[in-house]
């Protein structure tokens, strides 16, 4: 063979060599990825099994009613105490008694609902001569300024009488 023929033959040998190498590498790569994938599938299966066991344990624990209640109380940690505050009827009755005693007001028809307390009220002229209207204005001004008060005194729009003043009052829970 001539020198040129030898040169081309060696070049083609090299090409063939590299093409075989590439093919071999592609097969190795594919097999590697394939086996790694199998390992991952096995891991996923293991994780799923463990998750199932844990879920069964969780379900078993949650069958305990006390746990269920405690969870709900934790979820509603603010909402239920807020509801309790709005339903402290005894405290509201006590506050009305205090108001009645302090300002010499006679209340009737205690009516509480939806955060609002409605009462019919009457203020009479005192035995010592203090007019009813002075006792009334003192009550309105003083109670509205009282920071310790349990309620907010709503606007009173109608007063009936002179020596004996009747009015309807609404208190809003603070």
């Amino acid at each position: 063979m001539s020198i040129e023929g030898d040169f081309y033959l060696k070049k083609k040998d090299k090409h063939m060599f590299f093409s075989i190498i590439f093919f071999f590498l592609s097969v190795v790569l594919t097999l590697s990825l394939f086996f790694y994938n199998k390992v991952l599938i096995y891991d996923i299966h293991q994780i799923n099994e463990e998750s199932e066991k844990i879920q069964k344990s969780i379900t078993l624990i949650k069958e305990d009613e006390r746990i269920q209640v405690k969870e709900l109380l934790d979820i509603n940690a603010k909402a239920i105490p807020d509801l309790e505050n709005k339903t402290l009827v005894l405290k509201f009755i006590e506050e009305i008694k205090k108001i009645s005693s302090k300002y010499d007001i006679i209340f009737s028809w205690f009516n509480y609902g939806n955060g609002r307390l409605s009462l019919d009220a009457t203020i009479k002229k005192s035995e010592d001569g203090m007019p009813a209207y002075e006792k009334l204005t003192f009550f309105i001004q003083d109670y509205r300024l009282d920071e310790q008060a349990l309620f907010e005194l709503d606007f009173i729009s109608k007063f009936v009488g002179q020596n004996r003043i009747s009015f309807h009052t609404n208190f809003l829970i603070k």
Partner: protein, 173 residues
């Protein structure tokens, strides 16, 4: 010359096979692998959360087993007509200041807080306001048998011995 042609043919063949392997097999395996890597990551995160949840519940179970929480016990008290009636009458029995006219119990439903909510409407006649306050105190006391809320109340102050309707809301599980 023939050798050169043969080698060329073999090179092209192997290149073709390489290309075929990559397109037909390697690509699919690679895509599956990506999916499974993501899935494993996701499941691992979920598993960690589940473990945390289980640990919290176990701690809670241990704490609850150590002491009796009377407030908690109220929520698991059985809500049945006979028990409720017995509970209410146990207070008024022999008590001249309070007389039960009627007890109405409304069927239960789940409320926004996740508890089951029952309604009891009590029509009572009380001797005076103090008798009413004492009765309500019994219903709402700390060691009461039920978790009771009184969301509304209406009665006439002026009367001596009056009728009053007391609507009770009961939370239970």
């Amino acid at each position: 010359m023939e050798n050169i042609k043969n080698n060329k043919f073999i090179s092209l063949l192997f290149l073709f096979l390489t290309f075929l392997t990559l397109i037909v097999f390697t690509k699919d395996v690679f895509l599956d692998l990506q999916e499974n890597i993501d899935l494993k990551k996701q499941l691992t995160t979920q598993l960690e959360k589940s473990k945390e949840n289980l640990s919290t519940l176990n701690t809670l179970r241990t704490e609850l087993s150590k002491w009796e929480d009377t407030d908690l016990e109220k929520y698991i008290s059985p809500f049945s007509e006979d028990k409720i009636t017995h509970y209410i009458h146990s207070y008024v029995q022999g008590n001249p200041e309070v007389n039960i006219s009627q007890i109405s119990i409304t069927p239960w439903k789940e409320n926004e807080y996740g508890f089951i909510e029952g309604h009891i409407s009590l029509d009572v006649r009380v001797l005076n306001e103090n008798a009413l306050i004492d009765f309500i105190s019994f219903l709402l006391k700390d060691d009461s048998e039920y978790k009771i809320f009184i969301e509304s109340l209406s009665y006439n102050y002026e009367s001596w011995s009056f009728n009053v309707n007391i609507p009770l809301t009961v939370f239970y599980k």
